[in-house]
Every structure is written in structure tokens, then in C-alpha cells.
């Protein structure tokens, strides 16, 4: 059976390389799935999870921005930041989210640059927690 060759790269390291059957990535405004013999495509990535299915196992990753390219059954995910599920600590992340929300509550000035930054951080943390609790 034909498979996709998938690699996940970040500027610092090679996160994943291997053959898979099915991949789901978080594109800029929704998830996008790839099967074998997908047409050539380039897309921007959002903040969210990546699922790589191979037979019965599924691997989870978190990406925060980047691009994905598929061509000739080669899937390349260039992430700005990414991590494996096993590298995430759910408890730690939840605590971080809590302190962040507290801080956000106190800094009431909505839509200020500080607030936007916190909002962004919140999104990142939530996405990480989602992956960590898989």
C-alpha cells in the first residue's frame, strides 16, 4: 500500500520523519487532511494540532504557525514552533493558563497591545493543552 512520506521540521530540529497513511494538519482557518496522491498544495498553518495516522497508531504534535507543502506524496511541514505530545506537560500548561487568565482579568484594557499579546498566548496554551490531553 502506498504511503505518504512526512517530515516535520522546525528551525532547531527534525521533529518527525517517516511514512504515514493519513495526516491532518491545522491550516490557517481549519483543519486539512491529506491522503496518498494528494494534488500539489501549499498552505499556511495556524496554531493547533497535527495528527499522523499510520495503521493503528496515531501521533500527535502541536504546531504554532508555519507552512505545509505536499507534492508527489511528500508532505513537508515547516513549523515555526512545534512539539511532540510527549514533550508537553498538561498540569504545567494548565497552571500557566490559569495565571495568564488571572492577569488578563486584571488588565482590563481590552484590545490594547498587551491584551492582544495575552490573547495570543492564551490561544497557544489552549491548543497545547488540547494536544496534551489527547
Amino acid at each position: 500500500m502506498k504511503k505518504l512520506t512526512c517530515s516535520i521540521l522546525t528551525p532547531d530540529r527534525y521533529l518527525f520523519e517517516g511514512e504515514i497513511q493519513f495526516a491532518v494538519v491545522q491550516a490557517y482557518n481549519g483543519e486539512m487532511g491529506f491522503l496518498v496522491d494528494h494534488a500539489p498544495l501549499i498552505s499556511e498553518l495556524g496554531i493547533g494540532e497535527i495528527r499522523l495516522r499510520d495503521q493503528k497508531t496515531t501521533e500527535y504534535f502541536i504546531v504554532e504557525g508555519g507552512v505545509v507543502e505536499i507534492r508527489g506524496n511528500k508532505l513537508i511541514i515547516l513549523a515555526e514552533r512545534a512539539a511532540k505530545k510527549s514533550e508537553l506537560d498538561k498540569k504545567d500548561l494548565e497552571e500557566k493558563l490559569k495565571t495568564l487568565l488571572d492577569q488578563k482579568q486584571r488588565e482590563i484594557k481590552a484590545f490594547s497591545s498587551e491584551w492582544v499579546k495575552l490573547q495570543d498566548e492564551e490561544r497557544r496554551l489552549k491548543a497545547r493543552i488540547k494536544v496534551a490531553s489527547r
Partner: protein, 270 residues
């Protein structure tokens, strides 16, 4: 110190190897994009200023010495370009990274646009990203018209050479791209539209470029230091050998002299 440098060098090499595929992929995607015929001429990053007066040179040197001619080579290369620009009546601004570079410029009383320490092995992608954004803003706002990077290029793991790289405006060697992708007319789907991906990938490209320049420089520095330290060790081993021989010779001569004196004295008593 040779050992320390060797260890650091190995680490840098590892990081460089991790980054290389990323850089190649970014280049690949960028050239694929260009080949699909997205109008790049109206992108500000490719715009050549006809009368480029102000040129920024980012110089990446080391923080420390004892690494042979590593720092001097980079500085020389930078100044060569700076002088050339001055002859053409253009202004060169220096953005100096590394303590050695900074102190040289200060000593020569050459004004610097900005200076900072080399983050060395603490370098993260975020650092490079910050510099990338800074340079990009300067270029886009028209404050500087061209940006160069003066760094040390790693040609292979044993040869490094100071090099000059034109960062902005971005130049893509089209022939090279066509050689690599004979079937360049490949149809891609873009999600969202090519333009947006383009405007996303260009800053990324710049950041990756700067990041690899930093890594290559650090690697070269450690390599140069290793070689310098190896030479120093070899030279001192040689010196120690010579000195030991001459010391032993002197000692032997003294002993011989004393013995002959004693023998001579004893013979005189008889």
C-alpha cells in the same frame, strides 16, 4: 581549550545540520512560488532602489579572541565592502555583532549604526527573528536601501571563508532554480491565496537566512579556535621538548664538570 572548542564545535555542527534541511525547504517553497508566476515585482522585498545610497552591513564576528584570524577576516571583509561603497559615494552603516568586532570599530573610531554581543551558543531562533524583523522594517520603510550580511560561510566541515551575502532586496538566481526544477510549471493549489503565503514566507525566509548565518559563523569560530589551539599545543609541545633537551644538556655538562673537578682534585692529592 582545544577539547572545549571541539566539543562546542560538535554541538554547533549538530545544530547546523538540523537547520540546513529547513533552510533548503524554505528556499524550495519560495522558488516554487516564484515559478508559479506570482507577481513578485510588486513585492517590496524584491524592489531594487535605483539609487541605493544607504547600505546596511550586518557583521557577525565573535565575542572572544584566541581563534586565529577568524575575527580579522570578517572585519576585513566588511571594511572592504565599506570602502568600496565610500568610493562609490554611498553611505555604509555598520550593524556589528560580537565583542571583538565592536571593540575594533571603537578603536578605529568608525561609527557604528548599532552593536550587540554575539549570543554564541545561547542563540535561539527568536533572536534571529528579532534581528530579521528589525532589518526588514528598516528596508521596507526605506531607511536603508540595501542590506548585506558579512559572516563566515561554512563551505565544508573543514573549510570556512568570510563571505558577503546580499539579504535585501532578495535576489533569486532564476537559472539556478530552473536547473533544479525542470518541471517548474507544476500546478499548485494555494490555501489561502499565493499572495498571502508569499507575504508569510518571505519574512520566514529572511529569519532563516540570518539564523543560519549566525550558526555558520559560530561553527567557524569554534573551528578556527580549535585549529588555533591545536597549533598552540603542538608548538608548545615542541618547545617543551627543545627546552628539556637543553636543560638536560646543561645539567649533564655541570655534572661532568664537577666530576672532573673532584677527580682532578683527588689526583692532585696523591
Amino acid at each position: 581549550m582545544e577539547m572545549v572548542s571541539t566539543a562546542k564545535m560538535k554541538k554547533m555542527q549538530g545544530r547546523l545540520e538540523m537547520t540546513k534541511p529547513y533552510e533548503t525547504k524554505v528556499n524550495e517553497i519560495l522558488s516554487n512560488l516564484v515559478n508559479t508566476g506570482v507577481a513578485i515585482s510588486d513585492d517590496p522585498h524584491f524592489r531594487e532602489v535605483p539609487d541605493a545610497r544607504r547600505v546596511l552591513i550586518l557583521q557577525i564576528a565573535g565575542n572572544r579572541g584566541l581563534c586565529g584570524s577568524f575575527n580579522t577576516n570578517v572585519i576585513e571583509n566588511t571594511l572592504a565592502l565599506g570602502n568600496k561603497l565610500r568610493e562609490e559615494d554611498r553611505e555604509a552603516l555598520y550593524y556589528v555583532v560580537g565583542k571583538k568586532g565592536t571593540s575594533f570599530f571603537r578603536f578605529m573610531q568608525i561609527p557604528m549604526y548599532k552593536s550587540m554581543l554575539n549570543p554564541e551558543d545561547k542563540l535561539t531562533f527568536e533572536d534571529a527573528a528579532r534581528i530579521g524583523t528589525e532589518l526588514r522594517n528598516l528596508f521596507i520603510s526605506g531607511e536603508v536601501h540595501e542590506v548585506y550580511i558579512s559572516y563566515t560561510k561554512v563551505k565544508s566541515s573543514s573549510t570556512q571563508k568570510p563571505a558577503m551575502l546580499k539579504l535585501l532586496p532578495i535576489l533569486l538566481e532564476e537559472e539556478e532554480i530552473k536547473d533544479l526544477y525542470p518541471g517548474a510549471q507544476l500546478e499548485y493549489y494555494f490555501e489561502p491565496d499565493p499572495r498571502r503565503i508569499f507575504s508569510y514566507i518571505i519574512p520566514l525566509y529572511l529569519k532563516v537566512r540570518i539564523y543560519t548565518c549566525f550558526l555558520e559563523s559560530s561553527f567557524s569560530e569554534q573551528f578556527a579556535r580549535r585549529v588555533a589551539m591545536k597549533n598552540a599545543t603542538d608548538a608548545s609541545t615542541e618547545m617543551i621538548r627543545d627546552l628539556t633537551i637543553s636543560y638536560n644538556r646543561a645539567r649533564q655538562a655541570k655534572i661532568t664538570k664537577e666530576i672532573s673537578e673532584i677527580v682532578g682534585g683527588a689526583a692532585a692529592l696523591k
